[in-house]
């Protein structure tokens, strides 16, 4: 309490008022408390103005003794009040009410790319870093490009077993006049080679079509990713490097593979690449039919007849094909159990892929 009636000397009383006001200011815990201090000390009926009014009635000598002390006290109290006011405002919370921080975040937008597109883009980027060109062949092609140029002999069983969708009205023709939905991507490689000068290195992703019965593992329309490198000397084992590039891109870590003999008319020699099953880590499961390995990529060196069909001299050039079943890799990447979901356009499925 301020002792206004006491006969204490004015200077001491001013010092007491100031000291107690500063203590009260420091103790104020909210702007409201601080405001109360301001009113009590500096308000119209506050202690300091009251003291100054009383000092006005002192004799001249007494006023001279007190001098500028009341004004200095008022100034320092005001400065301290402002500083404390700023501190209190700065430390106020942003929200006036409590917030439950565990409520879910608001959606930032539900857009997204199809998982097949995402993997295609990832692989395109990986091969762009290796300076591979990107090519798109036509989805409708001809027997010439899909079979003749690829060293399938006339009436080779593969022409049937491919179960190709032939276009109505062209199925009784041959070669360039017999048209189909492309059964594989390899025909596009011949188109590219006929358009460019070797050496080549390019990728050509896309959708291909086979007349098959569908189930959880088989589709009529599915995606492939093919790579072709043609140069003077391309040892067989170059493909292992390309395979590593692909699998590392897909899974983000090295994946164990095995390379084995395989036959396709458009390669000589041909091979198959199996990868360790990523579902069971090779211990054997339903996905890999208990063998621990999954066939993912056929490939090989372009057959000399394919190079000839592409206008490339097989005595000067050789190369390496690699063909990837994209759907299967997408399924392995996310653990998808039914390939038919890819074409379902079902947002419950698609919204799962960030």
């Amino acid at each position: 309490m301020y002792d206004l009636t006491a006969d204490a000397p004015p200077l001491r009383r001013i010092a007491d008022i100031r000291a107690e006001a500063l203590a009260a200011i420091r103790a104020a815990a909210s702007p409201a408390e601080l405001d109360a201090v301001r009113r009590r000390v500096l308000g119209r009926s506050g202690v300091l103005p009251a003291l100054r009014r009383r000092l006005g009635s002192l004799p001249v000598e007494g006023r001279r003794t007190v001098g500028a002390a009341p004004h200095e006290a008022q100034q320092s109290i005001t400065t301290e009040l402002d500083a404390r006011q700023r501190d209190l405002l700065d430390s106020e919370p942003a929200l006036p009410r409590p917030l439950d921080v565990t409520v879910p975040g608001l959606p930032a937008g539900s857009g997204g790319l199809h998982p097949v597109t995402q993997l295609t883009d990832d692989l395109n980027d990986a091969f762009a870093a290796l300076n591979f060109d990107l090519y798109q062949g036509p989805e409708i092609s001809s027997e010439r490009y899909e079979f003749d140029h690829l060293n399938f002999p006339a009436e080779h069983p593969a022409r049937e077993s491919m179960d190709t969708f032939w276009l109505t009205g062209t199925d009784d023709r041959h070669g360039a006049q017999r048209l189909c939905l492309r059964p594989h991507l390899t025909g596009a490689s011949v188109r590219y080679m006929r358009e460019h000068e070797p050496p080549f290195r390019f990728v050509y992703p896309g959708r291909v079509y086979r007349n098959e019965n569908t189930d959880a593992r088989h589709e009529r329309a599915f995606f492939q990713y093919e790579v072709l490198l043609v140069d003077r000397d391309v040892p067989l084992a170059t493909s292992k490097f390309l395979v590593d590039t692909i699998l590392d891109t897909v899974f983000g870590h090295p994946v164990q593979t095995r390379m084995r003999a395989g036959f396709f008319p458009f390669v000589e020699p041909g091979f198959e690449i199996d990868m360790r099953c990523q579902v069971c880590a090779g211990r054997g499961c339903r996905t890999c039919r208990q063998v621990g390995w999954l066939e993912v990529m056929p490939g090989g060196s372009p057959h000399p007849n394919v190079l000839r069909a592409a206008g490339v001299d097989p005595d000067r050039w050789t190369g390496c094909y690699l063909n990837v079943g994209l759907d299967r890799l997408v399924m392995m990447r996310y653990g998808i159990d039914d390939v038919r979901l890819m074409h379902s356009a079902d947002l419950r499925f698609l919204n799962q892929f960030a």
Binding site: G111, D133, F165, E195, Y209, K240, P269, S301, D346
Partner: protein, 726 residues
């Protein structure tokens, strides 16, 4: 194909490894073993037939045994044989000295069908049982026992891969001839089935008619039965192509035809006959083999390959030891003569029917037996010549990414074929579209001329779970049957023209569908997305949207319905009250519209509005870098004011905006805020609220300057579009 390890053990001493290891090694070097199962104490390898299509030598246990011998560096045992009977007449018709010589076993053989035809006549008591070992081995690979002669014939086929056929000689009118049916006829197969044979089918005939389908299956009339006593074994080398053609025509495939279709060598007939004789002698020592006639028209010649050693090393990627190289080739039956750095290689006849012919084939033989898995991965040497602008992403990718991230749409993929009811709902004439055979359903044999029909189907699918959403697809659309030369691929000089290939027109299209309650909102969002693409994909010649008010255009659009890809006239799915043409400069590349109530009803969309846009991406191109120029930031503050003016419905916003912009030199922008209909707005009118931004040039804007500009804007709107303040 099923392979018995017990059977193999007759032919090669199998290494002492787990069957799974053996299967793994065989898979890596030769053929894919799909499964390993134990049957009655034997281990059966189930081999994927697809991995055998190019290897006629592997369609029997002996071929697999040869591979294992090469893989494990083990000796391969020769096949057993037995003395042959005296030969009778050869192909020239000269009589031999055998008992059956007078009648002859083999008559005419068509060289276009058959390279070699051998016939063996023998007599055996059919009550003699098939040896137990043979019966059990056949059973373990899934073959039922029939009788001694048939079982031995099958056993020979599953050992050496050479099919043979046994006839009841007493039911034959010898000799046997190989040729084609001259006219159509019907024929009873030995399994009881009857088939109609057209003319030109390869058959074996006796003097009375067809006795067997050559290389496929025998006939019922000459089949071996319990009463048979005298037999003829046919061991022939039919050419692959006639047999393949016949099986395709007749829809008949057998173990025998599967082998002939791969192309067998003539020398294998010897192995088959010798093994048969040996087995017969063992099973029935009393059997008498009376005659053999062997007509060889065109023996299989070994393929000769000359290859430089350096070629092998470069293609394999490392130099293998000479010893290993020669051991591998020798183990597989290749004869190698070394001449300096050149190898002169003669392939075995069982690999010389099309399988092996090039130096590249030798790379494969050596590489696979050495082990592809043992080759060291080689990084390709990359030339620094740029093959493409790596900083530029293809336009379709930029479009996809902007739609997915900036516009918040979800990418879907739909099939390239489209159902008839969706075509009808969206106004496409199926008769004019490209169609294909073997479609998933009879009403889905047309290739989509537009992405919209299947997108509407996707809308139906998702409406079950989501009341509002936005989806898009980037994919190929297919033109009609009016074929044009292909237009695809990356830019490049076509070194090798291929002018006679004519493909139907295709294009890459973008389709967007937005679904929700408010048609105006959906339409404006779709329009905003299209405009966003122009800016954020850096498109050349901006696909600005403007009103498709041209009546002729919309009429032709409705009439045609195809064959155009996206970008033709107004499509029938586009509602006339809310549609826009999308153009690149003067060229129309697509349509943006609300979907008509009719199209919604026919596709099964109920209770919501759908806004769709389709753009032909093939026609678009992006700037090689960036085209927009920096605009200096204003030094002086700008000022805005809003106006709400009443205008007739016949006056488009575009006109109002242009009028306001040109009203005063200070007007920098005119923005649409909203519109209102109701009290104080007469019928046929709406109240438009627009926000005008003034940009000062030399001096700060004062209240008087702003008021004067506002007056001029209002005056221009009043004079030019009869707008007045609400």
């Amino acid at each position: 194909m099923r392979i018995s390890l017990d059977w193999l053990s007759d032919l090669v001493d199998l290494p002492e490894v787990e069957p799974s290891r053996l299967a793994h090694d065989l898979t890596l070097a030769t053929v894919e073993v799909e499964d390993v199962v134990t049957v009655d104490g034997d281990v059966i390898l189930d081999i994927d037939n697809k991995s055998l299509t190019n290897r006629p030598d592997l369609w029997g246990h002996y071929g697999i045994a040869r591979e294992l011998a090469a893989i494990y560096q083990l000796p391969l045992r020769p096949l057993p044989s037995a003395p042959r009977p005296p030969l009778v007449a050869d192909g020239s018709g000269a009589a031999g000295s055998g008992a059956a010589a007078a009648r002859g076993l083999v008559g005419g053989v068509d060289p276009a069908l058959c390279r070699r035809f051998a016939a063996l006549r023998f007599r055996v008591d059919t009550s003699v049982p098939t040896p137990r070992l043979i019966r059990e081995r056949l059973a373990r690979i899934g073959e039922a026992s029939v009788n001694l002669c048939v079982d031995l014939s099958n056993y020979v086929m599953f050992t050496v891969g050479q099919p043979t056929h046994v006839y009841d000689a007493d039911r034959l009118a010898l000799p046997l001839s190989a040729g084609y049916t001259p006219t159509a006829t019907s024929f009873d197969l030995l399994n009881g089935q009857s088939v109609d044979l057209p003319a030109g089918v390869p058959v074996i005939t006796d003097a009375t008619g067809v006795a067997a389908l050559a290389g496929v299956v025998g006939g019922a009339a000459t089949a071996v039965g319990p009463a048979s006593r005298e037999f003829v074994l046919e061991a022939a080398t039919f050419r692959a192509q006639p047999i393949r053609r016949a099986t395709q025509r007749l829809g008949l495939r057998t173990e025998a035809s599967a082998r002939f279709e791969k192309g067998l060598d003539t020398q294998r007939v010897d192995a088959a006959v010798d093994l048969f004789l040996s087995l017969l002698r063992e099973a029935a020592p009393d059997a008498s083999v009376t005659a053999l006639q062997d007509v060889t028209l065109q023996p299989t010649a070994p393929a000769l390959i000359t290859v430089d050693r350096d070629f092998l090393d470069r293609r394999i990627g490392q130099r293998l030891d000479d010893d290993e190289l020669y051991r591998v080739l020798d183990g597989l039956g290749f004869d190698v003569a070394v001449d300096g750095t050149t190898l002169r290689v003669a392939a075995p006849t069982w690999r010389s029917t099309g399988d092996v012919s090039l130096p590249h084939d030798l790379v494969e033989e050596v590489g696979r037996i050495h082990g592809y898995d043992r080759l060291i991965a080689v990084r390709p040497t990359i030339a620094l010549t740029p093959v493409r602008r790596l900083n530029r992403r293809p336009l379709d990718r930029a479009v996809r990414e902007q739609l997915a991230t900036r516009a918040g749409l979800r990418e879907v993929l739909t099939y390239p074929w489209v159902a008839d009811h969706l075509l009808a709902a969206t106004g496409f004439d199926k008769e004019r579209l490209t169609r294909f055979q073997g479609a998933p359903a009879p009403d889905r044999d047309a290739l989509r001329p537009s992405l919209i029909p299947n997108l509407l189907d996707a809308v139906v699918t998702n409406l079950r779970y989501h009341p509002s959403f936005g989806i898009f697809e980037v994919g190929t659309v297919f033109g009609g049957r009016d074929a044009v030369p292909p237009r695809h691929g990356t830019a490049g000089r076509r070194r090798q023209p291929d002018d006679d290939e004519v493909l139907p027109p295709t294009a890459l299209a973008l389709g967007i569908a937005l679904v929700g309650d408010d048609g105006v909102d959906l339409f404006r969002r779709a329009k905003g997305i299209v405009e966003m693409l122009r800016r954020h994909c850096h498109l050349i010649d901006l696909p600005d949207t403007d009103p498709a008010s041209d009546v002729d255009l919309s009429d032709t659009g409705r009439a045609s319905g195809g064959p155009a890809c996206a970008g033709g006239g107004d499509p029938a799915w586009a509602d006339r009250s809310a549609r826009l043409a999308i153009r690149v400069g003067a060229t129309r590349v697509g349509t943006l519209a609300l979907v008509t109530p009719r199209a919604r009803r026919l596709t099964g969309i109920d209770g919501v509005q759908v806004a769709c846009a389709e753009i032909e991406l093939t026609r678009l191109a992006a700037h090689r870098s960036r085209e927009n120029r920096f605009v200096p930031l204003p030094d002086l503050p700008e000022a805005d004011f809003d106006l709400s003016v009443v205008v007739a419905d016949t006056v488009a916003w575009q006109t109002v905006e242009a009028t306001a912009r040109q009203a005063d030199a200070l007007v920098a922008a005119v923005r649409y805020v909203d519109e209102y209909r109701g009290a104080s707005v007469p019928d046929g009118h709406r109240s438009l609220t627009l926000r005008v931004t003034l940009r000062p040039r030399h001096a700060t804007l004062t209240a008087d300057v702003i008021a004067a500009a506002r007056g001029r804007v209002l005056d221009a709107l009043g004079r030019q579009v009869r707008a007045y303040l609400r």
